[in-house]
Symmetry: C2
Subunit: 206 residues, 2 copies
DNA sequence: CTTATATACGGAACGTTGTTCCGTTTTTTA
DNA sequence: TAAAAAACGGAACAACGTTCCGTATATAAG
């Protein structure tokens, strides 16, 4: 599992404990921001998030000195949640089903990030570290599911998780021509492609 | 709404002419906007464009009621310029060379549009008509060059201009991982792919 | 429990944006 | 040349991200 959101660094040397209200507000802010970003996109006003969290504007900027810091925090939290879903799914389903379900989980995660792709490519240095974190957490998650599925013989070997994540992200990113359904279908098709010609081949999809 | 006197209509030229200073300012604005957008991206402040054009802010909004209208106008102007380059290149070079040069022209056009792709996918209805205009002007331009090259036997047939434009646009769009050189090289490679196995096959590229 | 103080809080205030409004200036026309 | 229509310029407004600081409060010490 990943760190709790507001934890203090490991080598915290005997300073005061984090105040309870501070921790509470930080959690409320992350939760409010997640909801607002999903509804109104990452360009939503900071004041709206503060209000939804029941907190003053100053408090937002105490925890997140810049608006982008809040976006980054929410993004990392959701990346963590997505990565942590992999072992859970692997434990609850057979390898093929686990892979399929995780990819759908990933697609939903990407699709909800309206406007974030734009922010990433805006050149703002605040988002520089995000792609790295993205890979560090998600590639191992997918890798493990992929390995299990290959070992079980339900998908072919030889595919790079990075390529799959990138392709799925592009397919799942919403645009004005195509709705979110399109992304889901195309990624399902992609996974079917992995299955094609595997050792244990089920009947071809309709 | 208020239609006490006839508005300026395409077929109606008996009414007042467009004032000379208005036309001059409109041209200056388009030119200034093009320069500023190329330098600072499409998010550049309106005041900066007004100043560069030697014009007040009110004048900008007289010609372009919304900021996005100015972006759209510049975009359409540059799409036109890119489309109009096709017949000129076709007249000045052999079909293969014309195709190559036009694709490079197109890549430069796309690469200079930093931030516009983001605006397009922002869901703002102001940009709804842009992709349609894009296709209407650029697809015929590329189609003609492609047909000529196929007839001359220097590229293979059977490629959809829409697919090529889309692929080249994606390849040429600058991102933080890869510089503009990457896009140019990949599109050159794409065009080399069109050449592969043509009737008149030149020696393979280095 | 009381007190002291580091910490966190709230929201007014600042600078920058897109956009609107209207008095003034300029061009066109009679 | 003078009236009218059109366009101009920039002050003014609203909304945004961000900063600042007086006030409130949780925690540690006595």
């Amino acid at each position: 599992m990943s760190d709790k959101t507001g934890e203090i660094r490991p080598e915290n040397e005997g300073k005061r404990r984090v105040r309870a209200d501070a921790q509470r507000n930080l959690d409320a802010l992350l939760q409010a921001a997640m909801a607002v970003f999903a509804t109104a996109g990452v360009d939503a006003p900071v004041r709206e998030i503060a209000e939804k969290a029941g907190v003053g504007i100053g408090t937002v900027y105490r925890h997140f000195p810049q608006r982008s810091d809040l976006i980054v925090a929410v993004f990392r939290q959701e990346v963590d949640a997505c990565a942590d879903a992999a072992p859970a799914l692997a434990a609850a389903h057979d390898p093929g089903e686990a892979l399929t379900r995780w990819m759908r989980r990933y697609v939903d995660f990407i699709a909800a990030k309206r406007g974030l792709g734009a922010a990433l490519h805006s050149g703002d240095p605040a988002y520089e570290a995000l792609p790295g974190y993205f890979k560090d957490r998600l590639v191992p998650a997918l890798q493990s599911l992929l390995d299990a599925a290959v070992t079980a013989g339900v998908v072919r070997a030889g595919f790079d998780p990075v390529d799959l994540l990138r392709a799925a992200a592009v397919l799942a990113s919403p645009s004005q021509d195509m709705g979110p359904e399109h992304g889901r279908r195309m990624v399902d098709l992609l996974v079917d492609g992995l299955r094609y010609g595997a050792r244990l081949s089920p009947p071809p999809p309709a």
